[in-house]
Every structure is written in structure tokens, then in C-alpha cells.
């Protein structure tokens, strides 16, 4: 039985605070000026992408007690950029990461509903949660949230926001000048929500937005994160852009859907992916090596290693062997404000793995870090990349990809001009937008408001 051919989804992540971004490239522009965002979003719209995506950061990263200065530092406010982009684009979806820990549901629901109105139905929310005291030092609430509570709060936050979005269901802005009736009913927007996280009531003051609710993204990879996505998200910002891990993740997440009354079409798997495009495969391969070396300089390699070793390794030669000394497992983390800081559950075991890999291949610190840190997803000519993406999507390793170029803001241009037309010619990618809302681009249909948004207790 042959499977139906899948249509590929594409989106783009504005590259920012990460060593993926090669800021020293002569073509690199500002990561802050609005023109950069406008250029990026217009290119993505020209390529008929589903959406542009912005990450969020709420504290500058620090390492060894100092602000980390090797990567791009600083970024603008997510909501504000997306609202301004709504003025310079017409169709492309506008997706932003917004943290549920250092915000209140009423405020965030208001902002997303406003963005959805101001963009005529193009808003999406990547729900993330953070709990660390380091980030909390910038906020009223501080870093009060226990790690085990974070998905509980995220789930409750999202459910509460949905109640607010839905609080205008059945009510309309009549705006009938003749009769003098502006609002269909005085109860529009009435809500009441009481649980251990939120104790709120009143009337939501933003009428139902074009999409009803913004599209919901989830980005975590843990078991709890996957369950959360299966229950509540419209799309997953995945991490696995290679065939086998991609297929494993895809299968795992999609099989979780039926218990929430959902079908595989209700949740898109969209991994983040990088690419290096050349005129020929050989040229791209050569360029890819250069890009990796620019992404992992000697200093960056040492700083990466310090994050695992939890020690000052500045005296070590990046072109030399790994340190003889073992990681420090006793002290406070040398690195703060990175997701990776929380990844190393067993520093000694990971260091052993590093040593074995370095020894087997005779790798220096820098060479090892180039191998260990995120790889390029797609490398080759436009033909090759188009074929790779198509094969992965047809093999159910993903429903599409969120591309992260390594140069800002022009890194998407060549992809739009050279890869997209090939996918269009092959009939695997839209020639033009068929709808006006992001929900339509993603083939999601109207927001399903009849089902309970997230079954209580589904996520722990």
C-alpha cells in the first residue's frame, strides 16, 4: 500500500543568541535593528513559508561569573517585533516563544489575542517554562518555581489562557450604529479560574481573534514535554533533524495522540534544521567545514567544555587533548542561563564518553567539540537539499523543517531563491498561500474548542 505524498511544511527561525550564528561573517547584519527582522520575514514570505519564529531569553547568559561574550548577545522583545512584522508582511505566520513562568495568563492571553487581531490571524505561541533562580532575578516573582512544578504550571497556564481566549465564544462585536448596540451581550469575556497556580476572575477585554486561539507550539523533548505536546500543541519545534532519530521521535509523539482524541494530522512535527547551500555538493561540503570552524572557535570550544567540566579551563589549549582532571561535580554551575546547563545529569559519565571519542579518533578539544555540538542538517546543492528534505518528510522523520540559517538576516535568501522553486516544481510544496491564517497554512482547521484543552493530570 503506497502512502500518499506529503506536502512539506517550511518555516524559519531568526537566528540569534547561539554559536550557530556566525556574526563575524562579512554578510552578517544586525540582530537588533528592525530592518533585519523585516528582511528575514519578507524572504520567508516570498518563499511561502508557514511562519517565522523568534526565540526568547530573559537573562544574559553568564559563565564563570561573567557575561558570556562570544556569541551574539542581546535580542529584542518578541511580541513587539512580531507586531511590527505584522505591518510589513501579509501572510506569514508570526510565532514567538513566551515563557509561562515570569508572566501572568491574563497578560499573555491579551498579548497573543492582540497579536492575532493585529496580524489578521497569524499569531502562534511557543509555550516554554523556566524555573531557575538566575532568570528569576529579573522578575517580581523571582526564581520560585520548583523544577517538578514547571510542566504543571505550564499546562495550567495554557489551560487558563485558553479559557480567556474562549471567553468571548458566542459573543460578538455588533457595532450597529443604527440600533446603538456595540456588544451582543454584557457577559462577553466573563471568566473565572481557580487552581493552585492561578486565582483569577473578571472579564477578558480582547474579543475573539481571527484564529480563535493562537497556534500552540511546544519545544521540549522530555517525556513530560512530549505528553504535553500530544495533549495540547498544534506543532512541535523538534530537535531531531536526522532520519532515524527523527523517525523515532515522530512515531513516539504521534502515537500519543489518540488518547487525547486527536489524530496524527492534529500535531505537526517540525524539527529545527540548519543548512549549508553550495553550487555543487562538493562546494557545500567545503563551505560546511568552514562554517563549523567559525561556529566553534578555539575559545568557544573551551567555553563549551567548561560547561560540562564545570571548571575554569582557560589554561588549556583548544588544539590540545582533553583535560586530565575530572569535572567538578560539587560546586555551583559555572555556566548560567543555558538550557545545556541542566542537561549534564552525570558529568563524570559524559566526560568519560568524550574521552573515549577523542581517543578513538585522535581529536583535539576543538575538533571534539565540533563533532559533539549540533551538526548541520542539510548540506549540498539546491537539488541535493531539496531531495534530502523531501525524503525525510516522506519517510515520516518530520512534517517539515524550521530552518535556522547561520547568517543574519540574509541567510535565508539563497534557500528561498534556489531550493524552494525545486520543491515547488516537484509538487511537494505550495506555489502560493491558499489561506490567510497560520492555522490554514499548517492545515490545522479551526481551533478545537469542544475538547477539554488539556486533560487534567495528563502531564507530570
Amino acid at each position: 500500500m503506497s502512502k500518499p505524498v506529503k506536502q512539506i511544511h517550511l518555516a524559519a527561525h531568526f537566528p540569534g543568541v547561539n554559536n550557530t550564528t556566525v556574526w563575524s561573517d562579512p554578510a552578517a547584519g544586525s540582530h537588533i535593528q528592525f530592518d533585519s527582522f523585516a528582511h528575514f520575514a519578507k524572504t520567508a514570505e516570498r518563499a511561502k513559508f508557514d511562519f517565522v519564529f523568534l526565540a526568547e531569553g530573559l537573562r544574559l547568559r553568564e559563565q564563570g561569573g561573567q557575561i558570556y561574550d562570544l556569541d551574539v548577545v542581546g535580542r529584542p522583545d518578541t511580541f513587539t517585533v512580531l507586531a511590527a512584522l505584522a505591518a510589513v508582511t501579509e501572510r506569514i505566520g508570526l510565532t514567538g516563544t513566551i515563557n509561562s513562568t515570569f508572566n501572568e495568563p491574563y497578560e499573555v492571553a491579551r498579548q497573543f489575542a492582540s497579536l492575532d487581531h493585529l496580524s489578521a490571524g497569524r499569531a502562534a505561541w511557543n509555550v516554554v517554562t523556566s524555573w531557575d533562580a538566575f532568570t528569576g532575578e529579573n522578575f517580581r516573582r523571582g526564581g520560585y518555581l520548583a523544577e517538578q512544578d514547571r510542566y504543571d504550571r505550564a499546562e495550567t497556564f495554557l489551560r487558563t489562557a485558553w479559557e480567556l481566549f474562549d471567553s468571548w465564544d458566542g459573543y460578538r462585536i455588533e457595532a450597529d450604529k443604527e440600533s446603538g448596540v456595540f456588544l451582543s451581550d454584557p457577559k462577553a469575556g466573563t471568566f473565572e479560574h481557580h487552581d493552585r497556580h492561578f486565582d483569577i476572575s473578571g472579564r477578558f477585554n480582547v474579543p475573539t481573534s481571527p484564529q480563535g486561539r493562537p497556534v500552540i507550539f511546544q519545544a521540549g523533548d522530555s517525556d513530560a514535554g512530549r505528553e504535553f505536546a500530544a495533549a495540547a500543541a498544534d506543532a512541535i519545534f523538534g530537535r531531531h533533524s536526522q532520519l532515524e532519530p527523527g523517525q523515532a521521535f515522530y512515531t513516539d509523539v504521534k502515537r500519543r495522540l489518540p488518547k487525547y482524541g486527536r489524530t496524527p494530522e492534529d500535531l505537526l512535527i517540525l524539527p529545527a534544521a540548519t543548512f549549508v547551500l553550495g553550487d555543487t555538493d562538493a562546494e557545500a561540503a567545503e563551505l560546511a567545514v568552514e562554517v563549523r570552524r567559525a561556529q566553534v572557535s578555539g575559545q568557544t570550544a573551551i567555553k563549551f567544555l567548561e560547561q560540562l567540566w564545570n571548571r575554569d579551563l582557560s589554561a588549556y589549549d583548544p588544539d590540545g587533548p582533553l583535560p586530565e582532571v575530572d569535572p567538578d561535580v560539587s560546586g555551583d554551575s559555572i555556566s548560567k542561563g543555558r538550557a545545556a546547563d541542566r542537561m549534564y545529569r552525570d558529568r563524570i559519565a559524559v566526560a568519560r564518553e568524550y574521552r573515549e571519542q577523542a581517543q578513538a579518533k585522535g581529536l583535539s578539544i576543538r575538533e571534539l567539540m565540533i563533532e559533539r555540538t549540533s551538526r548541520q542538517s542539510f548540506i549540498g546543492s539546491a537539488e541535493t537539499i531539496a531531495t534530502q528534505i523531501d525524503e525525510l518528510v516522506q519517510a515520516d522523520a518530520a512534517d517539515g523543517y524550521i530552518l535556522v540559517p547561520h547568517v543574519t538576516p540574509g541567510g535565508l535568501d539563497a534557500f528561498a531563491d534556489r531550493v524552494v522553486p525545486i520543491l515547488q516544481e516537484r509538487g511537494r510544496y505550495r506555489a502560493d498561500y491558499e489561506g490567510t491564517t497560520l492555522r490554514e497554512h499548517l492545515g490545522l482547521g479551526a481551533a478545537n474548542k469542544t475538547a477539554a484543552p488539556v486533560p487534567a493530570g495528563a502531564v507530570r
Binding site: 556574526w23 563575524s24 535593528q33 528592525f34 531569553g57 530573559l58 537573562r59 544574559l60 561573567q66 561574550d69 562570544l70 556569541d71 551574539v72 548577545v73 542581546g74 522583545d77 511580541f79 513587539t80 517585533v81 507586531a83 511590527a84 505584522a86 505591518a87 515570569f102 508572566n103 501572568e104 491574563y106 497578560e107 491579551r110 498579548q111 492582540s114 487581531h117 493585529l118 496580524s119 489578521a120 529579573n138 522578575f139 517580581r140 523571582g142 462585536i173 450604529k177 446603538g180 448596540v181 456595540f182 456588544l183 451582543s184 454584557p186 457577559k187 462577553a188 469575556g189 486565582d199 483569577i200 476572575s201 473578571g202 472579564r203 477585554n205 480582547v206 481573534s209 572557535s297 575559545q299
Partner: protein
Amino acid sequence: MSPDPLLHLAVALDGAGWHPAAWREPDARPAELFTGAYWSDLVAEAEEGLLDFVTIEDSFGIQSTDFNDVDDRVDQVRGRLDAVLTAARTAPATSRIGIVPTVVSTHTEPFHLSKAVATLDYAARGRAGLRIQISAKPHEYALIGRRTTEPVVLADINTDEVQARIAEHFSEAADYVEVVRRLWDSWEDDAEIRDAATGRFVDRAKLHHIDFEGDWFDVRGPSITPRPPQGQPVVTALGHATIPYQLIARAADVGFVTPHDRDGAAAIVAEIRREQEFAGRASQRLHVFGDLVVFLDETTAAAEERRARLDEAAGTPYTSDAHIFAGTASELADLLADWRHAGLTGYRLRPAALPHDLTRITRELVPELQARGLFRTAYQASTLRGHLGLSRPASRYAVAADDDPAPTAVGAGAGASAGHQGS
């Protein structure tokens, strides 16, 4: 401060206009209040009139005729969009006019708002400001749920207990502005160095923790957003009494006040100038704008008739905290030219109906003021600070590093310590 020969002029945008029945006017666009195009069109119209800036009203609570509670009326505009996002949506569609969204200090995070307004300043290339506003209504507190407040009953307004509560709201707002301003300064202008030779993207010596500690929040900083184009976007606040005047005097670049005649204006300006001196800001430019609700038409009778017609549609005469003017553009120009002698440096006009009264301002009042030599005939600057004659301040931390071991509140005015309202 030497008097500026020219008046400054802003408009306050809110829904379909400030009169509750404005949405029923023939040229009103009430079905579009929740679209980007509606707001872009209004701001572009204000820019056609060379105005200094627009403000965009906001509140967390739904509009109501009852100050302390939510009413059940369906005959007035209800619902609004977030003002910062609305401002951002209009920024790329305009190029000169300042854009000043309302920011509610009581229920939001200064860290978030600081970066939001900085980003608005980037999107608008130096035209952003904010209007700081407190929330004192119990039903608005219930939307957030973190804390509660008692209703403010007008009859008890002068009791010690109510005054103490109001002072607390404004003290929090003063801290809020101080945090926002410190965060704007927390990156020196030249912090981004992109030094390929050393591999450093920023010079971290030019990034500063702000280490604010106060009664309502502690904020470590630095901001995640680099210092905005204006350095310090323009801070504004509306005040009707001494406590808010103190906030204006200490923390704002522009204060909006609501005199009902020239003498009243003079008294308010004198009080604010005294407070400004107490705050140690006497040498800094602080604008005091008179707020007026305006009905503008070809003839005085037509304006009065329109006001009466709107009042009738609303079922009750419209009242306001601000003076309500109904007449011709020429008569309004007379009033503005007269009250400025009380020391007002500009006006924020609240159009009773949109777009009607806005287009009367831009197409009739502005030419009238220009003919009298009282208003600019072209934008002389490209930033909001430039329109207002405010220089671009250096980061307080840069100044501190260069000249002085102790950081000073350059351009901010509010005292460096937290939580002290009284003088």
C-alpha cells in the same frame, strides 16, 4: 528653561474617540477597532499633521462607566488591544511621529516592558515613549490574582488611609520607571563590538547589572535588549493631584495635566515646577502638557450641536477629568495660545470622535497654529526626543565609569533608592 516659541502637540487615541457614543458617528469605523489598519491610519493621519506624538490608551480591565466595578452596558465600546503591540503595529507604517503606548505598572514586569519599549524604539527608529499608568481598581486586580486592593471611593479621597494607598500605587510606579530607565542604560551605546580578532561580540565591561532593590521588586539586569536608539525613550504620565505630580516631576519627560482654565493651569505648572526642584531636576527639560477633550467643527454651533447629539445618543452628558472644548479650530487655537502663558509647553488633545476630530486637528487646527507662528511647519527632527527638544542622554553607567565612582540617575530623575514617595 527658556520658553519655546512653538507649542508641542500630541493626540490621545482611544477606541472610536473619547465620547462614549463616538462609535455611532457616520465616519466612525467601530467594526475595525481591532484591526491593524485602523490604528495605522490614525497614526499616519496624526503624522500628516506634524504632531509630536500619539498616545494609545490601555487598561487590563474592560471599559466601564463604574470606576470601581464592571458595568453591564452594551451600547459603548468594550474591549481593546494591548497598547504596546498596537504601537508596534503602527511603527513601520509611519516615519516621524512619536508613538507612546500606555503601560500598566501595577500588574506588569518592568523587565518585560523595558525591552518592549526599547524594541518599539528600534522598530520606530527613535520614536518610542511610554505612558506610565497605575491600576487602582479591585476588578483589575482580580484579573491578575496576585494581590487585592480596596475600592477608592471619591468621597473618601482625602482620608489618610486612601491617600496612603494612592501614595503606595504611585511609589510602585516610580520604582517601575526607575527600573525601566536603568535597564535602558544597562547597555552602553557601544557595547556591541563584534571584535573578530578576540572573538568577542560584546565588550562586557559596557554591560551593567542594575541591582535595583525595592519594596515591590528586585531586578538584577542587565536588559537583554541593547540600549534603544533614543537612549532613553520618552516617559510620560498623567496627573490630577500632588502625588501624581510628584511622579511627573521626578520620573517623567512629559506630564499631562487637566486644568480647566488658565489660572488653574498656572497653579498646576507651579506645583510641578516646585516638585521638580525638590527632585533636583530643575535644570532638566520637563514638559507639562494640558489635556483637553475636543469637539471641532466649522462653526461653534455645529460643534455644540454635535456634542449634544452624541450626549443624547449616549443617554447622558459626557463628563471628563479634562476640560471639554467644543468650537472651531480657530477658537481652540485662541485657547491654546492663551493657556500657554500659564506655562504649559504643549497640549495633548483627546479627540471626542475618531477620525472626525483628529482630522480637524491635523487639517484645520495645525494650519491655524502654523499661521500664528505657534507650530512647526515641518518636522525638524526624526526622533521623539528631537521633536520635544530633549537631548539624548548618555547611559548613567557610562557616565559613572568615565567621571564618577558613584552612579547617578542621569536623565531619570527618580531617586536612586527605592520606595520613597514623600519629600
